[in-house]
Symmetry: C2
Subunit: 461 residues, 2 copies
């Protein structure tokens, strides 16, 4: 028989169990924080009607969409080159959210606070660090008709809580407001069409550097005046160094019309409430170059950076938008949200050597000393499992050294030995694989002892 080479498509991150456990811990931490902030879970199908996903038509998005066809549809397909398949895979969680809210509007209570942790699919060109299938972890608050800017302050509070708990080093949430930016550019005589180009350009400031950005603003097709560009550059280079500094720098801006003032007032309110949420001021700052690529943001925008690993770029971004689901409903649904690209983040942390030592979800391995005693081993395992301790039992006879090696390789913390001596004495011998210590525990004390040891491990984790 011919063998098929076992392989995955390029652009996916498939993990071995120890890494999968670390990744699952990351997702659980994110989910736990989303829930603690009162966000409700939803899940949507990976497959959606293509016309739902591609309402905007054309552009980058459609070039990356994966279309889906069942075998029946494939053979029935009228093979006209212009005919697109009816189904596609979601490429983000925002479009499905818009469809979800529009479809279930009558059954939802607004402001609707949802979290969603699912995979998305993009037919990217294969490239290191680019994924075709990856997790997004999103939260959004959706208002009916209106949504207070106060909710914009909640996002940094969630981001702070998530990344504090993930323990991946110091981080900073950077804030800006597109009304502030556009209002400021407007006051310099930059037209509405130009503003969008300027936003996209200054957004690259931290990547490309000031000189490159300045050159683009001055050169064709923008061709802004030297004076305007000088003021734009001074504006977008604003970074704050404390809470008071952020407010002072906003007050110091000499701006223009209503849009600018609205942005300034929103940003000040958001800053004040972030502090009220208890976010330490070292964890948030103004960065007036941030615009976020997507045109649908209209107010507050966020990025999050690991201070010791600037090369990683933003690990959590988002912002405020005016209307979520205008393609599917006449209801006006403003919202604010953030997204963590967990697969890419995990990959980057691994690349940067920031992932801790892998530990197993299995906490105890019960060894097999004597086949005839298997029922006693199973009984021991059942006792531990009923106490919530994850336990594996060796079910086939084999050298004890090999059994210990299995535990070690799998990252199991404790190996339990229940030999004839132990059975006679009513004890179990536990070997702590991390400390390389061995000790006897009375059967009646076993669960309590393991719980104490495992809890310490978790705290020290």
């Amino acid at each position: 028989m011919t063998l098929t080479l076992a392989r995955t498509m390029p652009g996916v991150l498939e993990l071995l169990p120890p890494e999968q456990i670390a990744f699952q811990d990351m997702l659980d931490t994110i989910r736990g924080n989303f829930q603690r902030f009162g966000f409700l879970p939803i899940e949507t199908p990976a497959i959606e009607f293509a016309d739902i996903l591609l309402t905007k038509q054309g552009g980058e998005t459609e070039r990356q969409v994966y279309f889906v066809q069942s075998t029946g549809a494939l053979s029935a397909l009228d093979r006209d080159a212009d005919e697109k398949p009816e189904l596609a895979l979601r490429f983000d969680l925002t479009v499905p959210l818009a469809r979800y809210v529009a479809e279930h509007e009558r059954d939802l209570s607004f402001p609707f606070r949802r979290y969603q942790i699912q995979r998305v699919y993009r037919g990217e060109r294969a490239q290191r660090g680019r994924f075709r299938e990856f997790y997004q972890c999103d939260i959004d608050v959706i208002g009916k008709d209106r949504l207070s800017v106060r909710y914009d302050a909640e996002m940094p509070a969630v981001i702070h809580s998530v990344f504090r708990d993930l323990r991946i080093g110091p981080f900073q949430i950077q804030l800006n407001n597109r009304k502030l930016m556009r209002g400021y550019f407007e006051s310099l005589g930059v037209t509405s069409d130009q503003q969008m180009l300027v936003l996209r350009e200054v957004d690259k400031l931290d990547k490309r550097g000031a000189e490159a950005v300045r050159a683009t603003l001055i050169g064709a097709p923008l061709g802004l005046s030297d004076a305007a560009v000088a003021r734009i550059m001074a504006f977008v280079e604003v970074r704050s160094h404390s809470h008071a500094d952020a407010l002072a720098r906003l007050d110091a801006l000499e701006g223009g019309g209503d849009l600018f003032e609205q942005g300034r007032s929103e940003l000040k309110e958001v800053l004040q409430l972030i502090r009220a949420f208890g976010v330490p001021e070292s964890h948030y700052a103004l960065n007036l170059s941030i615009a976020r690529g997507l045109d649908y943001y209209t107010g507050t925008v966020y990025e999050t950076h690991l201070l010791e690993h600037p090369q990683i770029g933003s690990i959590c971004s988002g912002g405020r938008y005016d209307n979520l689901a205008g393609n599917y409903t006449t209801s006006h649904l403003p919202g604010v949200g953030i997204s963590i690209g967990a697969t890419r983040l995990f990959w980057q942390l691994r690349e940067a050597g920031l992932l801790g030592a892998a530990s197993s979800t299995v906490q105890v391995l019960v060894t097999m000393m004597d086949e005839a005693q298997l029922p006693a081993y199973l009984e021991l395992a059942t006792q531990l499992r009923n106490a919530g301790i994850a336990t594996e039992v060796v079910m086939e006879p084999g050298k004890l050294a090999k059994q210990f090696k299995h535990a070690d390789r799998a990252g199991v913390r404790f190996v339990a030995v229940l030999g004839p001596d132990e059975q006679a004495k009513g004890v179990v011998t536990l070997k702590d694989m991390r400390k390389q210590e061995q000790f006897e525990v009375a059967r009646g004390e076993l669960v309590r002892t393991l719980r104490v040891e495992l809890e310490q491990a978790q705290v020290m984790g």
Copy 2:
């Protein structure tokens, strides 16, 4: 602007948040039990190379496969009707497991115990209760070269633990062994080819009834003798009513050759160990009609039935197979596994009215009494969140009655009121939405009080 109708593809189960929470609870219970039994998590990409998924070629499976193409591939495709797309969506978790084990064989420790909880995709004809995208929750133990039949006894122990914790009523795990069946049929002169047909036929006994099955066995093309059919029917109608009864019924079978005896001995060992695992004997029984449709099972087979809802059919099935990954590796990898179709199970429980009242993941809603006091509300929420209590804050002013209605509608348990009176007295007024009781709690006692109340709620579930 033209609106696109917000809708999902037929054959998907999209849930509103209260149901999504109940579904998530189900998945968490399943996952928790898989982990407690020492199974390790893996996840595989939804998109695989089509040649990996379709090694067996043709048949029912390929007719249900969803093929995937990026836009680039679509336009480049040589539109020859025979050319199949290169990528497809997984239709189960077993084929991806086989590919995973073959691909990562050198990095895995055997016996490899994995759990996997992910969605799978099948282009089924749209039909009530049939899903095109649904969760499977699988565990498998894979041996290298060999795997003791003892592992077959662990599956019912996991099934028992899962369905005990899901609390969906009394259930029974039914066991059989395909060696026992085939050996028995062989002794009646049923040829090897006929055996497969007979297995498929008797597997339908509980659905179609004895008369229909008997008629098929006697009629063309099988055309078995009356005597053989009488003995087959007597065999497949065996059901046990206790542990001792199961062993006695196995002993009472008058069988044939080696294959039969091997099956009998395996089944007896499995029964003995199931008891050693502590599974109460009311929860397992012989059902000698069970064969499972899939031809790749070779030994023990399982089904699980809700005793009070026989119409639901098996809610967890699986069995032993000889070689997992023969399509991808020359290594011999025997295994045993089970699968829970969680989406279908959830849907069936809902249809049968077996889902409890929905409760929210949000535990406390902090009301807004006075806009100026928002920082105090946020501080209160941060205190609760840091204590692990899921808390939502109303951020926009509105009638208090409307805020309570929002909590009620969302299934939030407690509403916290922090008005001027409460602030003066250093207390918070809590309204228990379930008990419809209201009481004041000192700020210093708040976390402790809520924890006690919420834990009681959980225990009372």
